[in-house]
């Protein structure tokens, strides 16, 4: 047993920064990481057992207790809930005979809730032993569990056909569907892989490449919108023994699944973008941080990397350019939303808990193993290839005057055609709704739970300052004009997630509560604001929904929402957004629960609160009238 752990460690040369891989291998071998293995890891890697344990406990897919032969991770994102998740959950519990959050006594089944898996357009989905099962219904759950009871291999349970495109590739063979509804410059099958790296780079200096990207005004597609060319320039400027290009493929924002589709259908484009970034910045280390939920792609992507090496688009003297050496390794995550934040991602790449770092220094100065590091989103990197191919002027001809190019939208929720839409920046919400066949729309969550909930009515009560704070629109909005808002960095920026809710949905009870649960679950716990306030605010919302709320409760939510902005990273700073933006845009939904006649209600129930202690000591409660 010890030998096996030592063998795994030596596979990674006893490198502490590869702890994630080591733990993944131990999981593959025995399903969990036991205490004895922790001790071996600590002594062999020269770190404390606490450092090993804190890493294990941080990630959703790691465990220090035995897990099951079949581990079923059922997605609990909002769209899964809207598509019958409750019945599917019930079916799993009935068929397996256990509750969620437990492992069956015979060790055959383990049921776990899991945050968004990037399958919003085909949920409810479950990851079972690393394979994704989509569009689950109680009927299909029964078939699956019956198969597992017979002891079948999980890959033999993939029912019906594989998904479209590369999802059916021999190295993937999953039932995931791409659902590409509208293509564009990125989602374009007519392209020649590695043409830029192999043919074009040798005529350009790294400085030229940076200038072209800067002239294109390309901004980061992960959501924050930092100018890509500038980031590359900063990275190039900093001295370092090595420089690092990281592709952030940890798309964890509920409602986004565009990176999944990019990596399934256009991995060449993404990897080539990394090579271009490496040439421009002088980087020699390339890392893709792939979320664990997409592990089913790993073999396929590694094969693509090998093909790229064979084509001399990776490796040594790439594209015939002397001393242009760069290679890419794919690092799997293990289930943590916060690892999408670039400094947390880097911590995770170094084999630690994915807690965001204090900034400055920024990753471009001191990133992975303290080397200057450029972290770019999957879509950003893909766009750079097209920019190099066609020039910055071509690129700026798409979009609006402040937002150039296209954006991949992940559309899900109440519409006829959920999926991926590549649209030019400047496209209005109304156009998107028409494209995806959404009717009877009540609200749209733009940018995922950390974004904004916008809607069709009752926004006239907002004063201009409030609106400016939230959306920076060009002028006062009326409800009718609301859907004419345009996706752009100046009006309605987005990382690409759009979840649509029709008029039958209960926005507060279904949607906002689901999002708050998500933030509570995914907080890394480092900042007290993000650790505590989402829970406290959720309890306040529950109070309001129970009918006990008073006007002060709404004011409290708004003022506490400001406090949370002091959190260290974007996750914490935006963790109150589901409540804040729903108050701003749907205040009437709150007000209709508020008690009109009183300004104070604590819901304090003394009889209920003394029951447990009275029962324990064996006495009857006595109440005095004060």
């Amino acid at each position: 047993m010890k030998e096996k752990v030592v063998e795994i460690i030596s596979k990674y040369n006893g490198d502490r920064s590869r702890l994630m891989d080591i733990l993944l291998d131990i999981h593959d071998w025995q399903g969990y990481v036991d205490d004895a293995s922790v001790d071996v890891l600590a002594s062999e890697l020269g770190i404390s057992a606490a450092e090993v344990n804190e890493t294990i406990s941080f990630y959703h897919f790691f465990s220090n207790k035995p897990r099951a032969k079949y581990n079923i991770y059922l997605n609990d994102s909002i769209t899964a809930c809207m598509r019958g998740r409750a019945q599917v959950e019930q079916a799993f519990e009935n068929e397996c005979g256990i509750k969620f959050g437990t492992v069956s006594a015979d060790g055959v089944f383990g049921l776990y809730d899991t945050s968004c898996q990037g399958m919003n357009d085909q949920g409810p989905a479950a990851i079972i032993n690393d394979l994704v099962f989509t569009n689950l219904t109680p009927y299909r759950v029964k078939a699956l569990v019956d198969g597992m009871k017979e002891g079948k291999e999980i890959k033999d349970l993939v029912y019906e056909a594989n998904g479209d495109g590369n999802n059916a590739d021999p190295d993937m063979q999953v039932m995931v569907q791409n659902h590409i509804r509208k293509g564009g410059m990125l989602l374009d099958k007519n392209f020649e892989p590695y043409a830029v790296v192999n043919n074009m780079l040798k005529d350009k200096s790294p400085e030229d490449v940076i200038q072209i990207v800067q002239d294109s005004n390309l901004r980061g597609r992960g959501g924050a919108g930092f100018p890509t060319g500038l980031k590359w320039r900063f990275g190039r400027r900093v001295e370092g023994e090595h420089r690092v290009i990281i592709c952030n493929a940890d798309e964890g924002e509920p409602g986004t699944f565009k990176d999944r589709v990019m990596l399934t259908e256009f991995p060449e484009l993404v990897f080539e973008g990394m090579a271009i970034a490496a040439y421009a910045t002088g980087a020699d280390i390339g890392l893709v941080y792939l979320r664990y939920e997409y592990r089913y792609m790993l073999d396929f992507l590694n094969r693509k990397l090998q093909e790229m090496r064979d084509a001399n688009a990776l490796g040594k003297d790439i594209g015939g350019i002397k001393d242009f050496n760069f290679d890419i390794r794919i690092q799997l995550g293990a289930g943590a939303y916060v690892c999408g934040e670039e400094s947390a991602l880097i911590e995770s790449l170094e084999g630690k808990r994915g807690e965001p770092r204090d900034k400055p220094p920024f990753p471009v100065e001191k990133g992975y193993l303290d080397y200057p590091t450029i972290v770019n989103n999957v879509e950003t990197l893909a766009a750079t290839v097209k920019i190099l191919q066609n020039g910055s002027e071509w690129f700026t001809s798409f979009g609006t005057k402040d937002s150039h190019g296209t954006k991949l939208l992940s559309v899900s929720g109440d519409c006829r055609f959920p999926g991926i839409y590549e649209v030019e920046w400047g496209t209005s919400i109304r156009e998107v709704l028409q494209m995806c066949g959404a009717e009877n729309v009540q609200a749209i969550q733009v940018g995922g739970p950390s974004g904004v909930l916008i809607g069709t009515r009752d926004i006239d009560h907002l004063n201009k300052t409030e609106l400016m704070n939230w959306y920076k629109p060009s002028g006062m909005m009326t409800a009718e004009k609301f859907f004419d808002r345009k996706l752009s960095y100046s009006d309605l920026p987005t990382g690409g997630s759009m979840i649509i809710f029709n008029k039958d949905r209960n926005l507060l009870e279904e949607v906002v509560m689901n999002f708050m649960d998500f933030f509570i679950e995914e907080s890394c716990g480092s900042c007290s604001t993000c650790r505590s306030l989402p829970q406290i605010m959720k309890e306040k919302l529950e109070k309001i929904l129970s009918g006990a709320g008073v006007r002060q409760d709404i004011d409290d939510l708004l003022s506490w929402g400001k406090v949370i902005k002091v959190s260290r990273c974007g996750l914490g700073q935006t963790a109150a957004n589901p409540i804040l933006s729903s108050i701003l845009n749907f205040r009437h939904l709150y007000e209709e629960h508020i008690q009109a006649m009183t300004d104070y209600d604590n819901t304090f129930d003394m009889e209920g609160l003394v029951k447990a202690s009275c029962d324990f000591v064996g006495r009857k409660p006595v109440f005095h009238n004060s």
Partner: protein, 182 residues
Amino acid sequence: MSKKIIATTSLAGCFGCHMSILDIDERILQLIELVEFNKSPVDDIKKFTKQVDIGIIEGGCCNSENVEVLKYFRENCNILVSLGECAIMGGLPAMRNGIPVEECLQEAYLDGPTVSLNKEKILPNDPELPMILEKVFPCHEVVKVDYFLPGCPPRADLIWDALVALVTGNEMDLPYEVVKFD
């Protein structure tokens, strides 16, 4: 101008905040000029004898008696002030909030290393005793509280300034440096 009437009490607190009130030192003589004390540990008046202007609460609520006293204060005071960490956030006693109350009692009376003399495994269950709440609550979650003075304890100067402001009706100067949460 008639004197303002003040009442104070310590609920689930350590009396540190009351000690801090006494830390206003010789200004207590000035205070006596400005106010009259009613129910308070300072003068040992047990029951309100009249309606009071300002009630000052130290400590949160960990048992039924705390709740009753707090409600008694709310009924008899025009303005209620939460004084110090425990009243405002539950403070040190609230550290038990993450532990089920049964486990707390088990440890305190049956399992703890210092209870070996409790051979008959007696639990305090006399009906005269206050009943323990499942959790420790800050005062504003039990009754409406008008003002909060943070600190553990709040500095004497802060208490003094707040009292003077309340009594004279003037606005209080609260520079950033004086607001401390520990």
